[in-house]
């Protein structure tokens, strides 16, 4: 098992491109997931069945099936149907990047919705009652008290979810996307040096996840600055 450093160095720029695509996938799917999670999570926590049913089903499906199956369903499965291929959505669904992004966003949206639901339910009742007693309307309580508090509670779990998305992005390589893992597999197919290339790829992922962890630690520090012991 010889360690051919020169081969690794020559492919470094290619891997860098792949890493950039990975980062884009993670950032955009996480943002889209959050946008999706708010209506989903709120709908899910509603006591009314008519409001609760669809979000519940959505969350049940996307949390209960593997991401790989979801990716294949969206990428290969939808393309099976003529009405999809002739619709206006086709230019988007044609592109593996968009298929991956959409699937990842739906998937993470379901998980974040559950995180949000748990966080909303963990908001101390006392704070909500205080808001009501001051005369705030329900929506104002939601906007000013529940949601900000819930976001603060949810942040650690959300940061976990984003790291998970980073790792899920590797699955996009199975639908021809040349993110980090896809790039690595293509290089290995040409050079037959799996161990060396995967080693470098692993390091890339560790670096990216380290950066993400640091970003979230900074965010938590800032959001909780009112709780920090003063000088």
């Amino acid at each position: 098992m010889s360690f051919d450093l020169s081969v690794i160095l020559s492919y470094f720029p290619t891997l860098l491109l792949g890493a950039w695509l990975t980062v884009k996938l993670v950032i955009f799917s996480s943002i889209a997931g959050v946008c999706l999670a708010f209506p989903l999570g709120l709908g899910r926590s509603s006591p009314r069945l008519a409001v609760k049913a669809l979000p519940w089903l959505f969350i049940f499906f996307f949390r209960g099936t593997p991401l790989l199956v979801q990716l294949f369903l969206v990428y290969y499965g939808l393309a099976q149907f003529d009405f999809v291929r002739t619709s206006i959505l086709w230019p988007i669904l044609r592109d593996p990047y968009w298929c991956a992004l959409i699937t990842m966003a739906l998937n993470t949206g379901a998980y974040i919705a559950e995180i949000l639901r748990g966080a909303i339910q963990a908001v101390p009742r006392g704070e909500i009652e205080a808001g009501i007693s001051v005369g705030m309307s329900k929506s104002l309580v939601l906007r000013r008290i529940v949601l900000p508090r819930a976001i603060r509670i949810a942040l650690p779990a959300y940061s976990n979810e984003v790291i998970l998305m980073l790792k899920c992005s590797a699955l996009a390589s199975t639908i021809t996307l040349l993110e980090l893992t896809g790039t690595a597999r293509t290089i290995i197919a040409k050079t037959y040096m799996p161990v060396e290339i995967f080693l470098v790829t692993g390091v890339f992922y560790l670096v990216i996840s380290y950066c993400l962890v640091k970003i979230f630690q900074a965010a938590e520090w800032r959001l909780n600055r009112h709780r920090r012991a003063n000088g």
Binding site: Y76, P96, T176, A189, K190, Y192
Partner: protein, 247 residues
Amino acid sequence: MFMKTLAIAALAGLMAVGSAAAADKIRIGTEGAYPPFNQMDEKGNVVGFDIDIAKALCAEMKADCTIVTQDWDGIIPALMAKKFDAIIASMSITEERQKAVAFTDPYYSNKLQFIAPKTSNFDPAKLKGKALGAQRATIAGSWLEKNVKDADIKLYDTQENAYLDLSSGRLDAILADKFVNWDWLESDAGKNFEFKGQPVFDDDKIGIALRKGDDKLRLRLNEALKAIIANGTYKKINEKYFPFDIY
């Protein structure tokens, strides 16, 4: 004392396993996702031209063969790790591969040719900006990467996935082995597609891959191959799959 006994027992077990391998058993690796050369039927068995050739060669060598499926990306590493002893999976003899493995004499010839929808005016001379598909780690994939600079090249884990995307319109064309394409064009799924232009690569020979240094097996396989060509078995297998001669 106990640990010593355990270690000796383990070693003895390992040796027993190893010596069993000395009997005339040959394991053959194939992919199983490359119709009509190797594919899975609905019962989960591997069938196809490659399989028939493998069985014929083994019968000729009077050896006991088992066929193992392996995904394409890992097939050469698996051979090198001794998961099987030979690869009969329509593998082209290329200089790059010959750095890693040894090949027998060729058992058929191949060309690379584009296929595209009948209604399209796809021209192999004008590839700029087109979406082209091929299977990863094949000579078609390498050809595209070496010769086509400004097109959207997509590489797939399996040939079948590439065909799915050609059918759905994600790809403008696929570059693949001519006979594999021919088989797909003959099927229901491929009836709206056709070959475009002349083959872009003409001189491809398909051989059986072996570990370097495994000369005994290589010579036996070469002998067996000559024999089945001479006695008409090869021709029979050829005719079962193709109305033309592919040797």
